[in-house]
């Protein structure tokens, strides 16, 4: 089993937004499940990490929350991506891409070093 990673607050927000973009409105459990799957169980989220992050996104206006009936006829709070959230997602994805490229450049083996 690959070792578990600690998740940073900022990256968790990105993951949540991406999840909601892909799967549409989802409740907290669904978001946690999806993130764990995507990370191939290398990340586990406890409530104390997930729910404050969801609340922060709601406070910043990137998601909205409302109580709905879930598939099993249970009442659950569903989070939906907003237009601002979509924009933020695009922005952060771009930043993340740039950062990755930058760091990766340091680790490319140098062809001209003999």
């Amino acid at each position: 089993m690959p070792e578990k990673l600690d998740v940073q607050q900022g990256t968790l927000a990105l993951m949540i937004l991406k999840t909601l973009e892909g799967l549409g409105p989802l409740h907290g459990y669904g978001v946690a499940r999806r993130i764990e799957e995507t990370s191939k169980n290398r990340l586990t989220l406890n409530y104390g990490t997930l729910y404050p992050a969801l609340l922060k996104l709601e406070q910043e206006g990137f998601v909205t929350a409302e109580w709905r009936q879930s598939e099993n006829n249970r009442r659950a709070k569903y989070y939906t991506l907003t237009a601002a959230g979509r924009k933020q997602l695009a922005r952060e994805a771009r930043d993340w891409q740039r950062t990755t490229e930058l760091i990766a450049a340091f680790f490319v083996p140098r062809q001209d070093a003999r």
Partner: protein, 896 residues
């Protein structure tokens, strides 16, 4: 942008916690159920499924806390909780809270109010343009009433032309008149000014215009500028008054404007007019006679010139003037001129009193702060157990310190809030007091800087106290022992004890100094009240009735004027209860408006000796009897005393002793003299002294006795006049009836200052009395606080030493010995405080010497009384703890 939105959301999140918490609970529970259901689907038993879900959740309670922190503003909520706790804790110790809040409030309030007065009266810049460069000149001589003898017009002009450091000088002449309005005649205090007056003063009009050089000279129409106060008071602030004509005496004067609010000096002024309003002021006498001194003057420094330069040049010009005109300056009087900044002149009378109040407030602050420190230290020790328990339960040092800080801040906050109330109330009181002393009383405002400063001071004290307390640190070696000693730990460290003792000594010293000040001022008031007025009774009503138009000194109209006074005298005499009515130019205990040089027959003036000078008054034959002035020698005036049969005068005892020491003045002859005489209606003929009357304290009980010459009322030109009424019943009750008679017979005369002699005397004493009252109340308060301080500290010490006392007693010390031991502890603090206080008091008394009367600055009676009072109070405060110590049962004490 999102930060703002997030912040707004978090602020909103501070409210509606209950519903949000319920919401969260539901959400988390839903998550748990869903996970449990999934686990069951994966094959776990329901109970195991749920347990797994719970484990994976990482703790519902922790999650709830985490969400709560994100939801609101945690530090705000913590602060709110701390404040709530602090208030609850303070409510549980009402005595502590009450005393601390009260003493802080008093310190803050008193200091703010008093400093606001200091600022308004002494420190604030003048409203005049470039007020710093405004100067006031004053001419004075030796002797009574020599403090300000004013200038003559030639003297002013000479200085103006000769002193180049002065850009310009203006003349203004205090005058008075009667304003005839629709609702009657009122007296108006005027100043007659030259055209450059307002320009030099640097004031602007708030309506109309001010006088200018075009209003100078005999050809200019009479115009008047109203002072701001008078405009509001008399005309209700109506701008329509500008351009209207008012009747001043018999002339019509146009009101051309209203000047902005400003302090007037040296006398209060209702309106300022140009010189033409009074023909006398443009007469040859006024303009040419060097010894006719009726003018005040203000000046402005020329650009680039300094006060020192102006002073030097003025002294030179003045000296030359004295040399060139020796007749106007008799050598014995030592004429001199002083040049002061106008601002200083305004503050002269108030300065000493105001600084006194400032010192008093400062002391109160010291005492208040000392008290707060002591009480907090003691309370801190009592709470030590509670703090230790909190620390054991997991509160970190920072959290504990924040707790203490919030509590101290709440305390000082309450004190400051109450302090503001006291400051505002106190300021109102002080302003009404300040009006007697300073023309600038109207400028006093609540000084926010002072308020801020005193509050900051209290805040600093609060902060210091929070950090003084030693907080238990987990893992430190003393921690365990502190927990173990539990609730019985009741002493503070060495440093704390020394601080406490220091505070007590400071309190005692400050209280002693305040008491000393209060004692000296109170004795001053008593001495002043005890000064004999020189009158035999104080139940005499005085009623000034000014009938004369002072711009018309016309002998022909005098007969009619005299007739009016006669009629007044007769009718008032007929009122029930009136024993005697006299008519005179000056009311008893008032200063005379007229004074002249005197010549004594057979005694030519000696060069270098001061020319004798005396106040000049007129009196009817009944005057002395009515006023209660005792006749010491000779006879009173009689109706047979007419100018034709040789002029007669009565002199008072002071003058008799001055002019004829060791002899009887009866039959000797004196005459009025001086250059100015020929411009007055009074004759320089020789007059025979026919009687000597007792000296009265005119012009104030603390003034030096003055020489007075009385001439018969009937034979002199009437300038001033009034009634003196002796009654066998309450003199005040007669005022209404007498005033009605005057209004009927002389409707054009402005009536004011209808007072009994007792009331006039009181006016002289009341400023000192007020000083004494203020300082005394503060002093008593201080003593009280100091007593509480000593008693509290000592009681505390006894509690801490219970164990030790038990041991001593079991070793053979009896109750008396224990009591003495405690008393000695308190007594030593008291003694040190007393010593410092007495030394400080002696020094401080030097500073307020100017406010004392008849009392030396090191008055032994006062200081002895102060020491006795403080010692008694102090020992009394120590007595209870000492008795409690003596009552300790040794067995229980040692077991504790």
């Amino acid at each position: 942008m999102r930060y703002l939105r997030a912040l707004a959301a978090r602020i909103a999140g501070l409210f509606g916690r209950g519903r949000a918490d319920q919401d969260l609970r539901d959400e988390l529970e839903a998550h748990l159920e869903m996970e449990t259901a999934d686990n069951v689907r994966r094959g776990m038993a329901p109970a195991v499924a749920r347990r797994q879900a719970l484990l994976a959740s990482g703790g519902v309670i922790q999650a709830t806390e985490a969400v709560r922190d994100q939801r609101g503003l945690p530090w705000v909520e913590n602060l709110a909780a701390d404040i709530r706790y602090a208030l609850r804790a303070l409510r549980h110790s009402p005595a502590f809270t009450g005393v601390v809040v009260l003493t802080l409030a008093l310190g803050i309030g008193a200091n703010t109010a008093i400093y606001s007065v200091v600022r308004g009266v002494l420190l604030k810049p003048l409203p005049h343009r470039d007020g710093e460069r405004l100067l006031y000149l004053r001419q004075s001589t030796d002797g009574p009433n020599g403090a300000n003898v004013r200038f003559s017009v030639p003297e002013v002009r000479e200085l103006r032309d000769g002193v180049t450091s002065l850009a310009d000088m203006a003349e203004y002449s205090p005058w008075f008149g009667t304003l005839r309005l629709d609702d009657g005649a009122v007296r108006i205090d005027l100043a007659l000014v030259t055209g450059n007056f307002f320009d030099i003063l640097g004031l602007a009009p708030i309506a109309g215009r001010l006088t200018s050089p075009s209003d100078d000279g005999t050809g200019a129409p009479p115009v008047m500028v109203l002072s701001h106060d008078y405009w509001m008071k008399r005309f209700g602030g109506d701008p329509g008054i500008v351009g209207k004509q008012v009747r001043l005496e018999s002339a019509s004067v146009t009101v051309i404007g209203v000047v902005e609010p400003a302090p007037w000096f040296p006398d209060r002024v209702d309106a300022l007019a140009n010189m033409v309003v009074s023909p006398h002021h443009l007469s040859a006498q006024m303009v040419q006679d060097r010894s006719h001194r009726m003018t005040e003057t203000i000046a402005r420094l020329a650009p680039g010139a300094s006060l020192a330069q102006a002073r030097a040049e003025a002294a030179a010009v003045y000296a030359r003037g004295q040399r060139d005109h020796p007749a106007a300056y008799d050598a014995g009087s030592h004429f001199r001129v002083a040049v002061l900044p106008f601002k200083d002149a305004l503050g002269e009378r108030a300065r000493l009193t105001v600084w006194l109040l400032m010192a008093v407030a400062g002391f109160v602050m010291i005492i208040a702060v000392a008290n707060v420190v002591n009480l907090t230290l003691m309370r801190g020790v009592r709470r030590d157990h509670e703090i230790v328990v909190r620390a054991a339960l997991g509160a970190g040092t920072a959290r504990l310190r924040r707790l203490l800080l919030v509590e101290n801040l709440v305390l000082t906050g309450l004190g400051a809030a109450l302090g503001v109330v006291i400051a505002v109330a106190g300021l109102g009181l002080l302003i009404s007091v300040a009006e007697r002393y300073s023309p600038r009383a109207g400028e006093i405002r609540l000084d926010l800087a002072a308020l801020g400063f005193t509050m900051a001071l209290s805040l600093t004290v609060a902060l210091l106290l929070s950090f003084l307390a030693s907080l238990p640190k987990e893992g430190s070696p003393t921690f365990a022992s502190r927990v173990a000693s539990g609730a019985r730990r009741l002493s503070m460290g060495r440093a704390g004890q020394r601080l406490q003792r220091g505070m007590v000594v400071a309190q005692v010293a400050a209280s002693v100094m305040l008491l000393a000040g209060a004692g000296l001022l109170t004795r001053t008031t008593l001495r002043l009240s005890a000064v004999g007025t020189g009158l035999q009774t104080e139940d005499v009503l005085t009623l000034p009735v000014p009938l004369l138009d002072p711009s018309k000194l016309d002998p022909a109209s005098d007969g009619a004027t005299k007739a009016v006074y006669d009629q007044l005298q007769r009718e008032v005499r007929a009122l029930p209860g009136v024993l005697e009515v006299g008519v005179g130019s000056t009311m008893p205990l008032r200063t005379s408006a007229l004074a002249f040089d005197l010549k004594v027959e057979g005694r030519p003036p000696v060069v270098g000796e001061a020319t004798p000078r005396a106040d000049f008054r007129t009196a009817s034959p009944e005057y002395f009897a009515a006023a209660g002035i005792p006749l010491l020698e000779g006879r009173p005036f009689a109706t047979t005393d007419q100018p034709g049969s040789g002029r007669v005068v009565i002199i008072n005892e002071t003058l008799a002793r001055q002019l004829f020491p060791g002899q009887s003045p009866i039959g000797k002859r004196i005459a009025l003299g001086g250059e100015v005489l020929r411009f007055t209606p009074f004759s320089g003929d020789w007059r025979t002294v026919v009687g000597v009357v007792g000296t009265t304290q005119d012009g104030g009980l603390d003034a030096a006795p003055r020489g007075v010459v009385f001439s018969p009322f009937a034979t002199e030109f009437t300038i001033f006049g009034g009634l003196v009424i002796r009654t066998d019943r309450n003199a005040e009750a007669l005022a209404a009836a007498a005033t009605r008679i005057v209004r009927r017979i002389a409707p054009t005369a402005p009536i004011a200052d209808v007072l009994t002699v007792a009331q006039i005397k009181d006016q002289s004493v009341s400023p000192r009395r007020l000083n004494a009252a203020l300082v005394s109340s503060f002093a008593l308060l201080a003593v009280l606080i100091a007593a509480v301080g000593i008693g509290g500290v000592l009681a505390f010490s006894v509690s801490a030493r219970t164990n030790e006392i038990g041991i001593r007693m079991s070793l053979g010390a009896d109750r008396g010995r224990v009591r003495r031991m405690i008393l000695r502890e308190g007594g030593s603090l008291l003694a040190i405080g007393l010593a410092i206080g007495v030394v400080g008091g002696l020094l401080a008394a030097q500073v307020i010497r100017g406010l004392l009367f008849g009392v030396a600055t090191d008055d032994p009676v006062t200081f002895a009384a102060v020491i006795a009072v403080m010692a008694a109070v102090g020992i009394g405060a120590c007595w209870i703890p000492a008795r409690r110590a003596a009552g300790i049962d040794p067995t229980t004490a040692m077991r504790a």
